[in-house]
Amino acid sequence: MSNFLPYEENYKYGFSTDIESDTMLPGINESTIRIMSKKRREPSWLLNWRLKAYNHWCSLKQEPRWSEVKYAPINYDKISIFATPKKKIDSLDEVDPEIIKTYQKLGIPLHEQKKLANVAVDAIFDSVSVATTFKNHLLSLGILFCSFSEAIEKYPDIVQKYLGSVVPINDNFFSSLNSAVFSDGSFCYIPENVKCPMELSTYFRLNNQLIGQFERTLIIANAGSFVSYLEGCSAPRRDNNQLHAAVVELVALGNAEIKYATVQNWYPGNKQGVGGIFNFVTKRGICKEKSAKISWIQIENGSAITWKYPSVILKGEDTIGEFYSIAITNGHQQADTGSKMIHIGSNSYSTIISKSILAGHSKNTYRGLVKIQAQATQSRNYSQCDSLLLSATSESNTIPHLCTYNDSSILEHEASTSKVNEDQIFYCQQRGLSVEESINLIVSGFCKSIFQKLPMEFAVEAQKLLSLSLENAIG
């Protein structure tokens, strides 16, 4: 326990009860960070780490401006960094009827609906005990799977060793901010040669561990291990917070494999483009040793603004990095997303497959970087980026960057942008399907290669979500 700050027993405000005074202290500054860290009983190294990140963040002054997304300035003084528990709602009647409609379309049972809408769960479905059952089973295999706060408390050495090792505190504006003030998130540690027997997901602990606005995730797969992780749940989630700045770090050691899937379906704002979440996320994995493999799979159909580039650093020899993405934008959504593959180890392979679907007045940009360094001999990359246009008022950009510094590697990139094929629509209509149904079939065909990468039960939900977000897509 030497790593911990002495805990003041008589500290006036217990963290969990002190909601009022927490909300009275908005703003991101050294003193709020110190207070937060103290309240969370964090070890001193972590406080110092946070302060270092904070100082770097201050020196940056403003958000990066190179992306294609446009938004009003964010007022950081108004952000309260304390994990403000979300308001509990007493019954489903208080939940936005739009959300309930979506749940019903998704076929989510009522008790699940309550849980997802953050309604206090009644006795019918005890999510806490379910989560615990899983946890104990995993623990018996040596798998550590818990909230980030719990990890700091229980496994400080592991956290200290890997935190910031993939995304350093000075990586970018939003990751520095996250490092300074992150509240909670997920932690996952797979011991050597253990194949995790189930899909790990934040879903299991959605209700007892609320995730804040600055989420931090760390996954470590030791040599020879395997883990498949599902981020978020596929239900739409409204949130008062405008800015979400998460950081996800993945570490795969020799022969280990991490599969990280995301279905993001956050509130995209209303039809006029008002409101919605700004999602500025830094996700990066490192294939640290020989033959490690990391795959990112993402289905993006939420958020007003998405800014994220899940990346893989292929450091070891024979490592593999993969990125499979479907980004679907409607209304006034803006997405600037893609991947970075940095080849350092020789004989490393990476694949990028990105499918964008644009509807409404949305803007969708694929941005990618593939870099094969001089020592990464005999490496390969294949990238494919296809955009399907459903609306005349949308805007599609493809901005890949490919470079290689050796003469034994092969880099291939292909991209296409085209509108949805009218002959296909007419054909489907001739078989009795409406225009909407026809487009749904065509779009799901367009995305099939990515859906196949998702775990089975997830793929079904993702496909349903896709058709939901395509509703009224055709103007």
Partner: protein, 245 residues
Amino acid sequence: MLNINQLTITLKDKLILDKLSLEIHPGEIHVIMGPNGSGKSTLAQVLAGNPIYNVSNGFVLFKGENLLNQKPELRSLNGLFLAFQSPVEISGLNNMYFLKSMLNAHRKFKNLSELDSIEFLTLIDLKIEQLKIEKSSLGRNFNNGFSGGEKKMNEMLQILLLEPDLIILDEIDSGLDIDALKLVMFNISSLLKKQKSFIIITHYTKVLEYIQPNFVHILSHGKIVKSGTREIAFQIEQVGYENIH
């Protein structure tokens, strides 16, 4: 069943069908022949509701109702089927999934319960047997990488699933080998017994060896220039379209 009256069609100011009239009763087969560019395929497309064509004059009644103001999907649901000359390919879309979606759209329209995957499998097994289609083709993507003949058989399969009332076959014979063509024609004969009507668009007289049409119409420059029994088809084979008057 179908009453086409003085139908005039233009595409980008070009006249394609010129005051065409035609009447088809239940259980009848009408064969439409004509040289390339005579407007045969346009007729098929217009009846199916392809939005690229302009109807500048005339009307069409299908089962006594105005056809031309119906959306393409409604025409289909009402029992009009077009077997396309070149059916589209849709990459990534599972063939079986497409067929099921199609059939269920029709069942829903008729207020019948939608078939689940298992019920559908039982049904489709029967139909592919009838057409001697390889079962593996159901698992492939819709028409993706299908040969010309396989695509045509897939169109036929859809006909057997839907059993529509008016079936327009646009060059069903192209791409089919002789055994497949016989099989198609055999299935058409059994549909005829159910009082289904057919418009068969073709270049060649080959199909006429297997069926007995009620009428053969010769289309030229957007007009029916001659109608008669199948004898005129064989006449064309001898003298060519130019000399038919």
